[in-house]
């Protein structure tokens, strides 16, 4: 028996898709939410420092698995090789119910006003497709607020004089300071910076029927065992299911989006948990697979009318892949600064996100998340030997006496930094895999040079006796902050979706995730993905009630 028709299929139960599913289901649409991963619980997560989403030496517990999901990466000299999810070049984001929000660090940033009009602010940048978003911060502001209150954010950005205006404060206070915070805050103030408590999608007090953070060591890269970290898996997805209008199917790999002879989407073809190929008919389809996989799915959905894939008439699908070039500095102190109190990251400054003389963009700086010993191993000074007696002494002496201040550089989108589908390599289901190629813009490195110098200054003022900078390379950037591959814009010739996140060429097909970001801010992108998902869902529901996209 074929599955019964639904109003909407949402592909991907991550930060974007989880919200879309809930909003549509609550508006009365029948929804099938397809997720290729599992619904993990914190009890499936063995708090394993070699097998988590940050250190995946022995695999990524929240997916995708190494056995079935290869990718091809092409490096700068044109050498191609097959990589697996546990290789860093894979540019992985978790594949499970909740997506990256199960195991993320959970920083909850609103982008700044300038982040939505980068081209107007800085002009054109040679070698970059830098542009403005077709929407402004003010279009997104009410939806940022909804994400903050419905998913749940703690923190206090009232001392951030650079933040964009907000109508309502954050729903939860900041967690009490850890030791790094008490060291870094006065130092930042002495330098004239404006430090504040990082907004985090993490309960500091009971919220949403769940417990507050217990300040443990196992935070970024892991699932929270007291459910204090807020993602779509423990907020909106349960709500979507509670409406009775939404069905969630896990371990279902979507093969392609199906269109009819008139160019309308009629549904999707997917492999179910037993690897049987199923077809699901729907009035609309929403693609929320993350920047790499969303582009891959559109490119793999070929037909007579769409020989190059859906939405790809002008060859923009998969282009402008961007993430964040992380940069900053390490400092060594003569006293213990590590207090074993999670989540670790606590204090930030936005003094250098914009307005840096001679530079385009910038980024925030914050102290780093709590570190497990294995994460400290590669972080000895560049002039020091990475093994032997010297390295062991380094570990012993400095593990508890080092602070990292770092942040994400707002990257310049590059047209040739891209996702394609590989002509040869296929995944376990026979679907052509992502082929990643290209690299960063030189401006990203210039900004990183500047930002890391500021981080070094901050650490020295805080009392560091030795500091050194960490600079990114020019290699491909995607990773957990992957964005940009289905750009949002008004002109169908230089973008993939319109400002409603509707694919230009196909009225009943939507992309709602970080793929649509024109630029990716100097911030962790998740709250923007969430806010935009609320906004796009609102528009979708309004249009649905009118035309039903027929």
């Amino acid at each position: 028996m074929p599955p019964k028709h639904v109003n909407a299929v949402v592909i991907g139960a991550g930060a974007g898709g989880g919200i879309v599913a809930k909003e549509l289901a609550e508006a009365g649409l029948t929804v099938l939410l397809l997720e290729r991963g599992k619904w993990n619980t914190p009890f499936d997560d063995l708090k394993d420092d070699l097998r988590n989403q940050r250190v995946s030496a022995l695999g990524a517990p929240f997916g995708p698995d190494d056995e079935r999901n290869p990718r091809v990466v092409v490096d700068a000299p044109g050498q191609e090789r097959i990589v697996l999810p546990s290789d860093w070049e894979y540019n992985n984001n978790a594949a499970c119910v909740g997506g990256g929000t199960v195991s993320y660090g959970a920083m909850a940033w609103r982008y700044m006003e300038q982040d939505f009009r980068m081209r107007s602010t800085y002009g054109t940048v040679k070698g970059s497709t830098l542009d403005d978003w077709p929407i402004s911060y003010h279009d997104l502001e009410p939806y940022y607020e909804r994400a903050e209150w419905e998913i749940g954010v703690s923190g206090d950005d009232s001392n951030n004089v650079f933040r964009a205006p907000r109508k309502r404060p954050l729903p939860m206070p900041a967690l009490p300071p850890n030791r790094e915070y008490t060291i870094l805050k006065p130092a930042a103030q002495r330098l004239g910076f404006h430090p504040f408590d990082i907004p985090m999608l993490r309960n500091s007090v009971p919220y949403g029927g769940r417990a507050p953070c217990m300040r443990c060591r196992w935070c970024v890269g892991f699932a929270c065992e007291v459910n204090a970290k807020n993602g779509t898996h423990n907020t909106v997805i349960p709500k979507a299911l509670a409406t009775g209008n939404c069905e969630l199917k896990t371990e279902c790999m979507t093969k392609e989006i199906v269109t009819d002879s008139t160019g309308r989407v009629t549904g999707v073809a997917y492999y179910d948990e037993n690897d049987h190929l199923e077809e699901q008919s729907a009035d609309i389809v929403v693609v929320s697979c993350g920047a790499n996989e969303s582009a891959r799915l559109l490119l793999n959905s070929k037909s007579r009318l769409f020989p190059n894939g859906l939405g790809n008439r002008y060859d923009w699908v998969g282009r402008n892949l961007q993430g964040h070039a992380y940069t900053g500095a390490w400092g060594l102190f003569e006293f213990d600064v590590y207090d074993d109190v999670g989540p670790g990251a606590s204090i930030a400054i936005c003094d250098f996100n914009h307005g840096n003389a001679g530079l385009v963009g910038g980024g925030l700086l914050a102290n780093e998340f709590i570190r497990l010993p294995i994460e400290f191993v590669g972080h000895n000074p560049p002039d020091a030997k990475g093994w032997g007696r010297e390295h062991k002494d380094f570990m012993r002496q400095w593990f508890k006496r080092s602070i990292v201040a770092m942040g994400p550089v707002q990257e310049m989108p590059v047209f040739d930094s891209r996702v394609q589908v590989d002509p040869v390599v296929r995944d376990r289901w026979g679907i052509p895999v992502c082929r990643l190629s290209g690299g960063r813009h030189a401006n990203d490195i210039q900004v990183a040079e500047f930002l890391s110098t500021k981080a070094e200054e901050w650490l020295r003022e805080a009392g560091a006796i030795k500091t050194w900078r960490q600079l990114p390379g020019l290699g491909l950037s995607g990773g957990q902050h992957q964005a940009g591959t289905c750009r949002m814009g008004n002109d169908p010739k230089i973008s993939v979706v319109n400002k409603d996140c509707q694919v230009h060429e196909v009225d009943n097909l939507f992309v709602i995730d970080a793929s649509v970001h024109v630029t990716n801010g100097g911030f962790n992108p998740v709250l923007t993905i969430m806010a935009n998902a609320y906004r796009a869902s609102d528009l979708l529901v309004t249009n649905w009630k009118g035309t039903k996209f027929r």
């Binding site: 708090k47 022995l58 217990m214 074993d340 191993v377 590669g378 093994w387 032997g388 062991k392 570990m395």
Partner: protein, 188 residues
Amino acid sequence: MTAKKGLKRREFIRLAASAMAVGSTVSCGGVVSPWRSLTADEADTLASLCNQIIPEDQDLGAVSAGVVNYIDVQLSSHLKRMKKVYRRGLAQLNDISFKRYGKRFASLPEQQQIEFLTAIDQDKAWKETPLHKFFRIVVDHTMQGFYGDPRHGGNRDRASWAMLKLPYPPVRGRFHEDANATNSWKAS
């Protein structure tokens, strides 16, 4: 593969004793290997290599903390695809050691081992060579086995965490995968 002689009896017993679970294979030399993936000779060479990456001092070193066991276990499971790399890399390390010093790597005096590895790691002539790449891989895996979770076969008695004065169990939170009760919560 060349069969190597002169495996020190004392060394062999120590290595054999440190293999936690024994899936026996017969090595080229006819010696029954106590390891899952490595021959006794390979394990011997690897042990000398690991011990220069994390030497023993007032705290346990790589070998006494079970790093060879960690690598051996992983080469039969998650890092299966690296088995050939290890086989070739260890053989090449010995070959070049023979050419340069007239002895297999494990038989070199400590100072010579360090000199040799430092050259492989840092000298321009060695960069981009397969042996250089192999050495970097072994450094990574040794660090994982030493500083990673004991459940994977290394970091015996959480030695490295004790060395870094990292409290165990953690002060806050529950550490529900205790090394002594692997997956017990799953069985119930």
